[in-house]
């Protein structure tokens, strides 16, 4: 009888039920979309921030002071210390290895360069002194566990644009900065001959791309690391390493000095992807290095990320609140509308409890169906939002479904509780009279 009554109320007035279900579904779909996007957005934004470039800089510990102005080191090639390239695979073995997004070693060599095609024949194209930056592009790094990882300067410095293409590892190719290209007339396809200090002979390199960075690299030549090592006579070595890592914005805890932490605190700190913890883990793997946090990048990122996360949670909360109000109002409306029916039931001898349970069962059924539909629509909405804004699709998460269903049930019950309580107190007679 009970079930028949519930079923009856759905089939008898399908339009009304559809309307309240639509309100519920809409409210819940917005709640789902807001929740799914907020849950994913932190990670997505953190990835976006990697377009700012490296946030960690690794240099030899026993180094002399670099004489760096505007990104160019004025030290002679034989001054200062170097680091072994073969160790770099170990970066992907640290605790937070999956948070290491990219890394690229740098070795700069002062060179002289000329190109037979750079000037007309009466003015032999001696370009003069410049810097050759040896680094990786699309380089496959062997990792101690037997796999390999592809990374390079194109990943750490995404604002470096190359017209043409990047050089291929292991070939005699290079890309030249746009200012250098303009000054010397060297174009893609030309051959550039470089010569460094005490290594004899000119080395021909094929220009495969023009690089624009907006920085001092615009005046330089960028070539595979192995070529720079041979020119500098430092096989298998590099001078600086840029690491781009996904991190958690630093909070008050992260700013504590690890040396003053209790062992338990240290474990928590070590196992949180704070930039300082990742820096420590890298210096544990790469012996004899000094790992420094590039403060402007790390802190700018931290500030913006923390703000945006709070802001999004706030907006999500507002969305949930609005959904609660919408669903609650429609639940209340559906109870108020049925006053006559309630009066009739009571006149026929149903007690207030039975009426309450009956209506609550109806509302719950509505909540689950409406909530389910809302979840499905919300996932699509979240996809559209994610794709439009970030070009990614948020994964549908099961616990969002649970939250949404629980929320829908709770709100419909709460929304109908007050009118239900009133309804159970109705005196059937005046209601049936239409008063």
């Amino acid at each position: 009888m009970f079930l028949r009554l519930v079923a009856d109320s759905f089939t008898r007035r399908p339009r009304r039920k559809l309307l309240s279900m639509a309100a519920l579904a809409m409210g819940m779909s917005v709640a789902t979309a807001a929740l799914s996007v907020s849950l994913d957005v932190g990670d997505r934004l953190a990835k976006e921030f990697r377009s700012l470039g490296a946030n960690l800089l690794v240099t030899p510990q026993a180094d002399s002071l670099p004489l760096e102005i505007g990104g160019v080191d004025y030290r002679p090639a034989n001054a200062g210390a170097y680091l072994p390239e073969e160790d770099l695979g170990k970066l992907k073995t640290i605790f937070w290895r999956f948070n290491i997004m990219a890394f690229a070693p740098i070795l700069e060599v002062p060179v002289q360069a000329w190109s037979p095609t750079s000037k007309n024949w009466s003015n032999p194209g001696v370009v003069g002194d410049t810097t050759l930056i040896g680094t990786w592009s699309e380089h496959s790094v062997p990792i101690p566990d037997g796999t390999s990882y592809v990374t390079g300067i194109d990943k750490t410095n995404p604002w470096w644009h190359v017209e043409g293409k990047w050089f291929t590892e292991g070939s005699e190719q290079c890309v030249v900065g746009t200012a250098f290209s303009k000054k010397s007339g060297v174009k893609v396809g030309d051959t550039l001959h470089v010569h460094a200090g005490d290594v004899a002979g000119w080395r021909p390199l094929k220009v495969v791309g023009i690089l624009s960075t907006g920085g001092p690299e615009d005046n330089a030549i960028v070539a595979p690391l192995t070529i720079a090592q041979q020119l500098a006579n430092k096989p298998g070595q590099y001078r600086r390493l840029y690491v781009s890592a996904l991190t958690k914005p630093e909070d008050a805890f992260a700013r504590k000095d690890p040396k003053t932490m209790t062992p338990a605190e240290f474990d928590t700190w070590y196992c949180t992807p704070y930039i300082s913890a990742i820096a420590l883990q890298i210096s544990e793997e790469l012996k004899g290095t000094d790992v420094r946090v590039i403060r402007r990048v790390a802190e700018g990122e931290g500030n913006v990320l923390t703000r945006v996360r709070t802001l999004l949670w706030l907006v999500t909360f507002a969305a949930l609140l609005a959904a609660v109000l919408a669903v609650g109002a429609s639940a209340a409306a559906s109870v108020i509308e049925r006053r006559t029916e309630i009066g009739l039931m009571k006149a026929l001898g149903a007690n207030s409890g039975l009426v309450g349970v009956l209506l609550a069962a109806e509302q719950l059924l509505l909540a689950f169906v409406g909530g389910g539909i809302g979840y499905a629509v919300g996932i699509v909405l979240a996809r559209v939002l994610g794709e439009r804004i970030f070009g990614f699709t948020p994964e549908p998460k099961l616990f969002v479904l649970l939250i949404v269903l629980a929320l829908a049930a709770l709100i419909t019950l709460l929304g109908s509780a007050y009118p239900l309580r009133q309804a159970s107190r109705y005196d059937p007679a005046p209601i049936l009279r239409g008063e």
Binding site: T213, A319, L325, A329
Partner: protein, 386 residues
Amino acid sequence: MGASSMFWRIERRLLTANYGRLFVILLALGAGAAVTSALLNLQIDAKKRLTTEFRALGANVIVAPRETNNTDSGSSTLDEGLLAQLPTQYEAKPVPAVAFLYVIGEVAKAGTIHFDPAVIAGTEGHGLTEIRPGRRTEYLADVENDPSACEVGAKAAAQFNVHAGDSLQLRNQGREASCKVFALVATGGAEDTQVFTKLKTAQALDDLDGRISLIQLSVTGTPNSVKSFISSLSQRLPGADVHGIKQLSEAEGRIYDRISGLLSATVLLVLFLTSLCVMAGMSNVAVERKNDVGLMKAIGGSIRRVVRLFLTEAILLGIAGGLVGSAIGIVVSIWLGIAVFGVAAQPRWIVYPVSVTLTVIVSIASAFPLRRLASIRPASVFRGEE
């Protein structure tokens, strides 16, 4: 005249007949208006605030000599007077600007004889800490204003074994100077290996009186407004090369677009949902009005007149709820600004009329189910059939 005063008398009765109901409707409309205005205000403010947060990234515009030749640091310099020609404000935000002169000299701790080469950067201007973000690990405020004060990068400090309060000897090609360390700074960048002195000290060391290597500025604004700052500045300084730092401008532009798109989308969703909520509440009330409509029609009220009555009621309610709710919302957003950004959100007055208008529109739209009442047959209402 008589008809009009009758209209308003009925209107007044409609509104005040049931205070409980009036309260509920005003609450719904007011809450909707409050959420709308709070979010709109916060959204506008957040976008502006983000551009400020980005300045934690440091300088984003550089004024350098034209035709820089990087292989020879000393050859191309700018006149020191350029610094005074720069605007100190842009879009009502201060623009920190610092002039640098780089000298490769030799440095030793006072009292020792072992000199090591290091980059000495002479600086002058305001807002060095904004231009060059980092952490000062040691800092002596009382030494800072000394004419021979200097700041040392963390790596350089370790190399020369100096702390705040110590003195350094500087020399370059026979010229000598000394300076008193007032702070140690860790930036993680090239600055860690440099010694920052007053501009005069560096100029004396390099014998380049009145010259500077470059000026760095930190301009607050959306990517587009920074771009227009750069182009207007390069017109004003024809002798210099003004350019943005691509690393920052590109990333900032991308991130700014993402965040503002996300904010706009979610705020739009919430606004849509809020109006839905208000509509749901209002149409409840419309249904309750069946009896009134039936009665009015039974005693000869024309449909148009009845609809006009209810529309006027909706507009009045919308204005009242909107005026109060939007004001509350703006106050709330000021407080939310403190919660999110630590700075009170600046109330923007455009938000107020917009959100009041939106509320009125929503309340009119939610009165629309009342049109269905036009088809009500009074008799069946009174029999309680519909």
